[in-house]
């Protein structure tokens, strides 16, 4: 066999771009990993405390105050970004976990139980989703007060509605498969069907969704903080840092740009990982079809 015949469309092995996705995912994971380390060891790394006033000067240039300059109160931007990583990433992680727990549980329940339960759940969640999410959050937080718990639960609830939609649709497709019918015919309860039959088959798309929702959570907290209803001073979080220092733009300061850039890097790196995961699970699926 000397004649090698191979057309582009048959190239199996490494699908085009596969390597690229992997490299990108590594870059994303490194950036994210770095931020996680920064968040964990913030007190050790940060040159100053997050509320420490270093100068009378507003928007001091780098060198005068800290490595990245000072904010509107003369605090060190670098230290505040480092402490902010804690707040922003930590909150986003908690919100994502709660949002997914609730969203998946309700979504699967609606799909598996069907009937009245599905109708009631779906319509109520439609009703919640009909409100613009930022407005809904503003109303809830304004009426319940700006505590950390309220902030977390509000954003988690809003995230959960989105997760509900996705997981219900996913579970609907899986619930009609014969192996779920077999489980029903065996007399299994709802809990087993949701947890053992459906969930393992939905992890791929759900994991991708985790990445996307995590990013949204960061942006959501930032947006609320920007409006003054999120994280309260003197705690630093990236969103509120952008808001506080917005004035600095007029003076040519980079103070609002740096936390914004931090948000961008996290969003970006999470998305790189998600893209790789989606690409990978799509390839797994086509491999399975091939079988």
């Amino acid at each position: 066999m000397t004649s090698e015949v191979q057309a582009p469309e048959m190239a199996a092995g490494a699908a085009p771009g596969s390597r690229g996705f992997q490299t990108a995912a590594w870059i994303g994971a490194s950036i994210l990993g770095l931020w996680v380390l920064v968040a964990i060891f913030a007190p050790l790394i940060a040159p100053y405390g997050q509320g420490e006033l270093l100068s009378d000067e507003s928007f001091a240039v780098p060198g005068n105050v800290g490595l990245l300059g000072g904010d509107y109160l003369g605090r060190d931007i670098l230290s505040r970004v480092i402490f902010g990583a804690r707040m922003t990433l930590g909150l986003a992680a908690i919100i994502t976990v709660i949002g997914f727990g609730v969203g998946i549980a309700l979504g699967f329940l609606a799909a598996v139980a069907g009937g009245v339960i599905d109708t009631v759940l779906s319509r109520s969640i439609d009703a919640i989703m009909a409100f613009p999410s930022i407005m809904l959050a503003l109303i809830i937080i304004a009426s319940l007060g700006t505590s950390m718990t309220v902030l977390i639960l509000t954003i988690a609830a809003i995230e959960a509605t989105r997760v509900f939609r996705v997981s219900r649709a996913l579970a609907m497709d899986i619930a009609v498969m014969d192996f779920v019918e077999v489980a029903r015919a065996r007399g299994e309860g709802l809990w087993w069907i949701m947890l053992r039959e459906i969930f393992p088959n939905a992890t791929g798309p759900l994991a991708a969704e985790v990445g996307i929702r995590f990013t949204y959570a960061i942006l959501f907290i930032s947006a609320l903080s920007f409006l003054g209803l999120g994280v309260q001073p003197p705690n630093a979080d990236w969103g509120s840092m952008v808001r506080e220092n917005l004035q600095g733009l007029l003076f040519g300061s980079t103070a609002p740009i740096i936390p914004a850039a931090a948000i961008a890097t996290v969003t970006f790196s999470v998305n790189l990982i998600v893209d790789w995961y989606l690409h990978k699970s799509n390839r797994d699926i086509s491999d399975e079809i091939l079988q």
Partner: protein, 607 residues
């Protein structure tokens, strides 16, 4: 004159996930002349579809051509780049896939899909293509050819859709048609309908064809020449007559053996058949089951169905798709609560819904589904799949469970170490064995087998049937065996229930059902079972049953006999208005028909 298609020493390699490329097709050479129908037969995995697709210079994802030539009219199409291949595909060489339901886009009209090839290749204008399409529908004997193009795929029957695939394929007058198992998974009656259409179109087109199948009796009807494949290599080659009548290679003989003989030649021996009147309490009984789908206003699909299963017995339920066979299984298992009637297990009436039944009641009636692939959770290992009923019904501990799973695997003739595998690491037949082992794990009295061999190769299916018989001997389990394949049921069942459009039209001991007097529907089913005999297709199309009964869909009716529209013996004014009386030609044998028994007695035309 050279051959139309010549494949010379073709090697194709495939890459299973996680391992290296390995050859699937190993140095196959063949040729197809103009106007000739070549059949490629073999089990799944023998490389027949891969060879077929090579005629389009197409390798499935994960496969690649490793060597050889595919010459179409003397031109090596493997050497062309993808741009130069395009004019060939669809226009010169056309492909008909196995499942029409999956090949049609449900969101587009039939017409737009049938004419698509011609328009994409800019061979003709839209109006011309439409005109030609209507012409093809007419030649294929499809109903209302002028209106058909405007319909959507779900608005026509499965058999019609399959014929429309042929219409699509011939829309550009291709030189070569590739038919990839186009009749597998169809009802016997639909299979005849589709085969007849394909045969006609090949003749009219004067085109050559490659017909891929695992079913020898189908091949005998349509092919001029047969190539038998196994494991990517040619085992035997010859004319249809030669192969069918004097197979020389052992593998061909195995394939021949797996073809189930027509039912009337295999009547069970008296030893197995019990006297139905001497029955003890049946282990399972369905009384007057009426059931349907829909939450608010039910669409009824089963009317007043009775079924009785004695212990150690096999009850066959037959009928075409849409007759309510699977619905009956779902009702018995409690997945679909009935509207009226009752399910009785060993003298106790079971609650309709599975959720309301007690564990022991559920345990004693197990169900095995048709599609072996989707009945196994792809994320669970075989040991968890089979182990779950042990844990669920019997509270078996982990170590006892491991031992029992091993035993069950051995019982279904699989190696013990399969326990660690995932379903995707199993073949179709192995998956069905695991399904069976899961049902057996519950140690049930009755197993509901819903078309368990329909999606399998003939050889694999025959092995599963043998296993089922074996298990019945060993364990004394009873089966409700649901199938559209009369020959399978006949070789296996003690009693047969013939369902048509949700009603029992005939019921009785196998021997009585398979001998006259027949219900006209039973007769249609009987005459539709394919035989390995060239010319059988033409003969069967001449019978009165076929003339009135083939190419018709199962329609549900509220009044009269549901078979009225397809029945050659229908009495206008009676059959369509009144429910047929139940006649009893022998004890335990029931025929629901307005005709006198004498009218139903004539034998099926034999040769």
């Amino acid at each position: 004159m050279t051959a139309l298609l010549e494949i010379d020493n073709l090697w194709v390699e495939g890459k299973p996930p996680g391992s290296d490329f390995r050859p699937i097709v190993k140095g196959v050479s063949l040729s197809v002349n103009r106007g000739e129908v070549l059949a490629l037969i073999g089990e799944s995995g023998s490389g027949k579809s891969t060879i077929c697709l090579a005629a389009l210079a197409y390798a499935r994802p994960g496969c690649r051509f490793a060597g050889g030539k595919v010459l179409l009219e003397g031109q090596d199409i493997l050497a062309l780049d993808s741009e130069d291949r395009r004019p060939i595909r669809g226009a010169k060489v056309a492909y008909v896939a196995q499942s029409a339901a999956a090949a049609f886009n449900p969101a587009l009209t039939i017409g737009s899909q049938v004419t698509e090839i011609a328009l994409v290749h800019e061979i003709m204008s839209a109006t011309e293509a439409d005109r030609r399409a209507v012409d093809t529908y007419r030649r294929l004997d499809l109903p209302t050819p002028e209106l058909l193009g405007g319909l959507y795929p779900h608005q026509v029957s499965g058999g019609q859709l399959q014929r429309l695939m042929a219409a699509m394929a011939v829309s550009c007058d291709p030189m070569l048609l590739l038919l990839d198992e186009p009749t597998t998974a169809l009802d016997v009656t639909t299979q005849i309908e589709v085969l007849t259409a394909f045969k006609a179109i090949i003749k009219q087109q004067q085109s050559a064809a490659i017909y891929v199948t695992h079913d020898l009796s189908v091949v005998a009807q349509i092919a001029d020449r047969i190539i038998v494949l196994n494991d990517g290599m040619i085992m035997e080659e010859g004319t249809t007559k030669q192969i069918v009548e004097q197979p020389t290679h052992d593998y061909t003989k195995t394939l021949m053996k797996a073809v189930r003989p027509p039912p009337r030649t295999t009547v069970k021996t008296g030893a197995i058949r019990d006297d139905p009147s001497a029955d003890t309490t049946p282990v399972l009984e369905a009384r007057g089951i009426t059931a349907g789908y829909g939450r608010v206003k039910k669409k009824i699909v089963l009317w007043d169905v009775d079924l009785k299963v004695s212990s150690h017995q096999v009850v066959g339920v037959i009928g075409e798709s849409g007759c309510g066979k699977s619905t009956l299984a779902r009702v018995i298992s409690g997945l679909l609560p009935q509207v009226s009637g009752e399910i009785v297990h060993k003298g106790t009436v079971l609650p309709p819904a599975v959720a309301a039944r007690r564990k022991a009641q559920i345990q004693s009636i197990q169900i095995v589904f048709q599609m072996a692939d989707v009945a196994l959770n792809p994320r669970q290992r075989v040991r968890d799949i089979i182990g779950r009923p042990l844990e669920f019904y019997m509270n078996m501990g982990a170590s006892a469970r491991r031992e029992r799973v091993g035993e069950l695997l051995e019982l279904v003739e699989l190696p013990r170490d399969f326990a660690a595998r995932f379903p995707k690491e199993l073949s179709g037949g192995e998956k069905q064995r695991v399904n069976l082992a899961r049902a057996l794990a519950a140690e049930p009295d009755v197993i509901l087998c819903d078309e368990v061999v329909s999606s399998l190769d003939t050889v694999v299916g025959a092995a599963i049937i043998d296993l089922l018989k074996d298990l019945q001997q060993k364990l004394g389990v009873a089966y409700v065996f649901i199938s559209h394949d009369l020959s399978t049921v006949a070789s296996f069942a003690d009693t047969i229930v013939v369902l048509y459009a949700g009603r029992v039209v005939e019921r009785g001991p196998t021997m009585d059902v398979l001998s006259p007097p027949y219900h006209p529907y039973t007769r249609l089913l009987l005459s539709s079972v394919p035989e390995i005999r060239p010319g059988w297709l033409e003969d069967v199309m001449k019978t009165r049953e076929a003339i009135s009964g083939i190419s018709r869909e199962v329609e549900l009716t509220d009044v009269g006999c549901p078979f009225f529209a397809r029945c050659p013996l229908a009495i206008e004014g009676t059959c369509d208005t009144q429910a047929p009386p139940h006649r009893e030609p022998a004890a335990g044998h029931l025929v629901a028909c307005h005709r006198e028994l004498d009218d139903l007695t004539g034998d099926i035309i034999q040769h």
